[in-house]
């Protein structure tokens, strides 16, 4: 067995070492590592070890959506190829090769998406993006390289401050970027020509699971009749069919549970800790800091959801490495893979 | 006194009406034996009448009517009346006679006239769609012409009874038959029948034939000779022709087929055409004139129509002579009522007109006890005040409020033409605001061109497109400013057809839609769709052949363009429009809807003289503020 190999640790170190690596790719990479270290001699033993490892991985992080997309894809690949295995060791070797080539191709995916998405960015347009997404940033960078002139509004994304990260990347690429409060989406929407978001996972019906705030952005975009594009690599397609926000795997009883009313509203917090005040919005945030104890604050942070689900009817198109898809095209791809 | 005034009143009016005079003069040559003509006609008429006339009561009704005034007149000052009349009858048919009569009986005494008026009015209603149009007007004009010239008292209020027998002088007008429709002729025939009954055996058989000829001629000479019948220059002409033709065959029922009612709109009045024949007796010429102009769309737009109506009524009130045994304020309303219903027969009443008239009636009702001259002065003043306060001043206030909403760099889209919007845009330009206007226009009236001309002349940068391109141009727009025909109590905007599409396209792109509307156009009415109440225009306006361009050159379909567009140049026969023969085709119909209803959700703000309000606040304004303002 592979007890000697800690798949979770491997996964975490992978992410830590290469920040450009996305979670599903890292997951697959870890699973490939696992296979390398696997001492399994029988098929069933081998399959079991992979299954256990992927379960471990999924449970190791709070938000497992995109991670499980990678795990599921790889598992599916393994099972599908497990039917007629002539020689076990040779087969294991192929899996490893394929897995490694996947990691290489995964990078190419983003470039392909960027290539497909660039024509959608009109010269002189204004684009609203949400938080930080590597593939969105890449797309915009490519567009800028193609001499498109456009401006970007990016939401600060108060939980992760991904917006600040995005702004840094985009400004470095020479794209005029303004960070806005998450709450200012409605305010800017009339000035915006399109909304572009990344995805943690793309679900069966073409809907989107992404960092919290995407859903409200989609609603606002819909109300304003602005196109809402999602950008996602196809390895983020995941076999989930959430009915609503509360049907996500990340949802649990604690999510947004109501706290005991023992809050001391008089004692002000002088700082909200985690907020790095590098951008105006975040300083604004700290000024309007909730009059709660820090511990209380963190508790409520903890019960706040990290991702939300955007139903497909809010999504205009998805830019993926398989092409520009309508939400129903996603379902098609998933059916192809899993039937 | 009264009659003189009236007759004189007629003269300048009709003269002013350019269309009339040529008709009269042209025709002079054709018919020479007017007097004798009618005697035999009745026979001919009888046959046709039986088929074509709507009902016997009609003809019966007309008989006394026609005879009555004559007797009065003969007894009165006019010796010449009779011959003159007979000439009318032969040559122009009832219509002009009736107008004439309305004047004449009044001379004698108001009441018989009234009776008669009612009778004739009723009858007219039955035949109403047969639209007599301007020819009738032409006829009456020409009759009046000679009269006025002969009567020594030229200017206002003078003029003895149109007198001056000059039966001969009326002959010339006979040719106006050419422009006379069958419907008119039918009336004429009825009239003549009555005449015959009244004056036993008056004419010669031979001349009767002639008369018959004359009657028939127009049919053939009608369409090919537009110069003779001015009717062609008038929108209703085509329809009239067809209808007249239908009725000449004696099948009134076929009228429906030819007007080609559209099932969904069967409840709406068919398009109306200018028609003095519809005028009951006793109408003030100013009102008749206004009515005709409205019917011909020479005056259109809610404000213009309202002002024209009020001005005409003011004239009518000024010229009004109180009949014996009553007072001005008590009788004036009775006097005005036929005027109002006449205006309705010309064109369905605009909401603005309705509100103005209601206001006038209200003022009249409030001041029943005033002495005549005081009342007259008061009503005239009230009318002036209404125009000043509710329209002129209101527009100024709306303009100043609207200016706050126009900024440098704006791209403003507007549709068709609204006088208020035009004023606002010009004022904004005069103020030095740098903005661009996109004028969206549509067939068949191309009202936006007028606005475009005004804006272009002032130097406002303009773009001109047709309604179909709305999706294309809306992208660059950041404000839409529209005018209104009326705002209904459910917040819906009732305006020129096409407004709803424009507002919808703007709404789709979240572009603010600003409606400029004076509060006097607010209506108590509620309406959910454009069907329950609307107005149908002349369907022939949609036919875009070369003869039918209404002065809008581009109405014409340029064959080259169309050919290029459609890829089959063959279909574009030069000159003739695609739809030219639509009446002959059983399954082809044209619907020229004049208004549409814009749901309140498409309208961002209404600028009124009481401020900027959401359009759903119409009932509030109606209930709270307007009574106050009227105090």
């Amino acid at each position: 067995m592979s007890k000697d190999f800690d798949v979770v640790a491997n996964y975490k170190s992978l992410l830590l070492n290469s920040p450009e690596l996305s979670m599903p790719v890292a997951a697959i990479q870890s699973l490939v590592e696992l296979i390398k270290h696997s001492s399994a001699t029988t098929m069933s033993e081998f399959m079991l070890s992979i299954n256990v490892a992927s379960q471990l991985l999924k449970s190791s992080v709070r938000n497992s959506i995109s991670l499980s997309a990678g795990c599921d894809l790889f598992l599916r690949f393994v099972t599908r190829n497990s039917q007629d295995v002539a020689e076990f060791e040779a087969w294991k070797a192929t899996l490893i090769v394929r897995g490694q080539s996947f990691v290489e191709k995964a990078d190419a995916c983003r470039y392909k998406i960027a290539e497909l998405g660039v024509p959608f960015i009109k010269d002189g347009s204004t684009i609203l993006i949400h938080a930080h997404s590597r593939v969105v940033s890449l797309l915009l960078q490519k567009a800028a390289e193609n001499h498109k002139r456009f401006k970007v509004f990016v939401t600060e994304s108060s939980q992760t401050h991904g917006g600040i990260r995005s702004a840094k990347v985009l400004r470095a690429a020479g794209i005029p970027t303004t960070i806005i409060l998450d709450a200012a989406v409605g305010y800017v929407i009339d000035k915006v020509d399109m909304v572009l978001v990344g995805a943690e996972g793309v679900v069966e019906n073409g809907g989107l699971i992404n960092q919290i705030g995407s859903y409200q952005m989609a609603i606002v975009a819909k109300a304003a009749n602005k196109p809402f594009y999602a950008v996602a690599e196809s390895y983020k397609f995941v076999r989930l069919f959430p009915l609503n926000q509360y049907d996500l795997p990340t949802y649990n009883a604690d999510t947004l549970s109501f706290q005991e009313l023992n809050v001391d509203y008089d004692s002000k917090t002088d700082e909200t800790g985690s907020v790095s005040s590098s951008a105006a919005p975040s300083s604004a945030l700290s000024q309007t800091a909730l009059h709660m104890k820090t511990s209380e604050d963190q508790a409520s942070q903890g019960s706040n959801p990290l991702v939300d689900y955007t139903p497909p009817n809010y999504i205009t198109l998805l830019f993926t490495d398989l092409g520009v898809l309508t939400p129903s095209g996603v379902s098609d791809e998933l059916i192809k893979l899993y039937l | 006194m009264d009659p003189k005034k009236k007759t004189v009143g007629f003269v300048p009016d009709h003269d002013a009406d350019t269309t009339t005079s040529p008709g009269g003069s042209n025709n002079t040559s054709t018919v020479n034996s007017p007097v004798s003509a009618f005697s035999n006609t009745p026979d001919l008429n009888n046959t046709t009448n039986n088929n074509s006339t709507t009902s016997t009561p009609n003809s019966a009704g007309s008989a006394p009517a026609s005879s009555q005034p004559r007797s009065i007149n003969t007894s009165g000052a006019r010796s010449s009346y009779e011959p003159m009349k007979s000439s009318y009858e032969e040559q122009w048919g009832l219509t002009p006679t009736r107008t004439q009569k309305t004047a004449s009986p009044r001379d004698g005494s108001g009441f018989p006239a009234k009776e008669q008026g009612a009778g004739s009015h009723k009858k007219e209603n039955k035949v109403k769609t047969s639209g007599l149009g301007i020819q009738a007007n032409a006829g009456s004009a020409s009759t009046d012409g000679p009269q006025s010239s002969t009567s020594s008292a030229g200017p206002a209020s003078a003029g003895g009874p149109p007198s001056s027998g000059k039966g001969g002088s009326q002959k010339p007008s006979a040719p106006s038959q050419k422009s006379m429709t069958k419907a008119e002729r039918r009336e004429l025939q009825e009239k003549q029948k009555a005449e015959k009954a009244a004056r036993v055996s008056a004419g010669l058989p031979a001349s009767g034939k002639k008369a018959a000829q004359v009657l028939n001629q127009p049919n053939s000479g009608f369409s090919p000779n537009p110069s003779k019948s001015l009717a062609t220059s008038f929108p209703g002409a085509e329809a009239e022709k067809a209808i007249a033709a239908a009725e000449s065959t004696g099948q009134t029922r076929r009228r429906e087929k030819l007007t080609k009612e559209i099932g969904l709109f069967a409840h709406l009045d068919p398009p109306k055409f200018a028609n003095t024949a519809l005028a009951p007796k006793d109408l003030h010429p100013a009102v008749v004139h206004a009515g005709l102009q409205m019917a011909q769309f020479k005056i259109c737009g809610a404000n213009a129509r309202c002002v024209a109506t009020l001005n005409a009524f003011r004239k009518a009130i000024q010229d009004y002579q109180t009949p014996p045994n009553t007072t001005l304020s008590r009788h004036i309303q009775t006097y005005l009522n036929p005027h109002i219903s006449y205006l309705v027969t010309c064109r369905p009443m605009a909401v603005s007109m309705g509100n103005a008239i209601r206001y006038l009636k209200y003022e009249i009702g409030k001041n029943l006890e005033l002495p005549d001259e005081d009342a007259r002065a008061l009503f005239v003043e009230k009318i002036d005040n209404f125009i000043r306060d509710r329209i002129t001043m209101a527009d100024q206030v709306i303009t100043s409020l609207g200016l706050q909403k126009i900024q440098d760099g704006d791209v403003i889209l507007t549709y068709a033409r609204s006088s208020v919007v035009q004023g606002l845009l010009l004022a904004a330009h005069a103020k030095g605001i740098k903005f661009k206007v996109i004028v969206v226009d549509s067939r068949p009236r191309f009202e936006g061109k007028q606005l475009l001309r005004a804006l272009a002349a002032a130097g406002v940068p303009c773009t001109y497109v047709l309604l179909t391109a709305i999706g294309h141009v809306m992208r660059e727009v950041n404000k839409v400013i529209l005018g209104a025909h009326s705002l209904l109590s459910n917040g819906a905007l009732y305006s020129r057809a096409g407004t709803a599409v424009v507002a919808m396209s703007a709404h789709e792109r979240k572009i603010p839609v600003i409606v400029c509307c004076e509060t006097y156009k607010f209506s108590e009415r509620v309406q959910l769709d454009s069907f329950v109440q609307n107005e149908i225009g002349n369907p022939d306006e949609l036919v875009n052949d070369q003869n039918n361009n209404f002065g809008h050159s581009s109405t014409r379909c340029h064959p080259s363009v169309r050919g290029a567009n459609s890829g089959d140049a063959a279909s574009a026969a030069a000159g003739a429009g695609v739809l030219t023969g639509w009446r002959e085709s059983r399954d082809l119909k044209l619907l020229n809807l004049l208004y549409d209803l814009t749901p309140s959700e498409f309208v961002t703000v209404v600028i009124t003289e009481v401020g900027l309000i959401p359009c759903t606040s119409v009932p509030v304004i109606l209930r709270e503020f307007l009574p106050m303002m009227q105090q």
């Binding site: - | 497109v465 179909t468 096409g498 454009s530 875009n544 050159s553 619907l591």
Partner: protein, 359 residues
Amino acid sequence: MSKGTNDLVDILVAKLKRRQLVGSSAVAQATLKLLIVVISKNNWSKANDLLNLVRSVGQRLIEANPTELAIGNIVRRVLHVIREEFRDAEASSKSDDHSEFQTVPLTTSSSMYNLLSETGSDDKEYTHASHNLRSDIIQEVRDIRIELDTIYENIKNQATNHIHSNEIIMTIGRSRTVEEFLKMASSKRKFHVLVAETAPSYLGQQMALELSKAGIEATVIPDSAVFAVMSRVNKVILGTHAVLANGGLVAISGTHMMAAAAKHHSIPVVVCTGLYKLSPLYPHDEDSFNVVMNPDAVLGFEEGDLMEKVTVTNPYYDYVSPEFVNLFITNQGGHPPSYLYRLIVENYDPNDHTFDPLA
């Protein structure tokens, strides 16, 4: 390319440039005819040779009139057929080598699954040229031609499935497809058609005239009355110039407002179109497929003094976004807009969306 075919290409290019040949249907037919000649009369042995040949011809035709999307569609269809034929030939010659992943029934040329499967099967150059490959390809291309010829037949045969008695139907412009569709329906059902006259081309008037000649009760309405009468309409049936990959339409000016009015009233919008009008391109810019016509039709040149002061625009097409369309009726049946991507996948190869020569 042989001299003869080159001349033929030149002729067609000239016709397209001069707008002597317009209309999706005519253009599609002509393009296909030319391609058959190009394939049969030229020498090629490798797949890429043929593909590049067809691409270069396609490129020239498209440049001649970029708004006639049907040209590109037909060229892509042919390219797709060529690829398929080569692939089949390849497969039959060395079937033992065939990767098992590609036998998965639903697999198309691209799938997320490819990320993990063997590399490069798509980029592989087909060199195998069996002796009857040429005739196979030509046969396949001829099949496309038969499809083009029977488009109206196939579409109109569906008419009675969509139109019931006493319906009120609205349309705009003049589309032969819609015309045939309605005429077919009128043989079985009685219904009423409202036609917006479609100023300034007035094609709607012609449409109404044609329909009335066929005994269909047709009423011409001015474009301004579209919203007003929409509430009584049961269906809006539209023709289109092209259908884009997202389900958007490039259709005659005025279509957008009609479709939007229909959407406001929740009236279903049905688009009748041959499959050859379906383009794998996306409307990156709504104006990219539009044509601006002579402004004289909007504001006559007679009014020159006014003309010189104002801008007059006469766009010929409208872009209608996909959310306004409820159903597409093609020669293959009825499809919701969400299914179009699938038709595109089935008919075109993703590598052919642009015609840059292959390596």
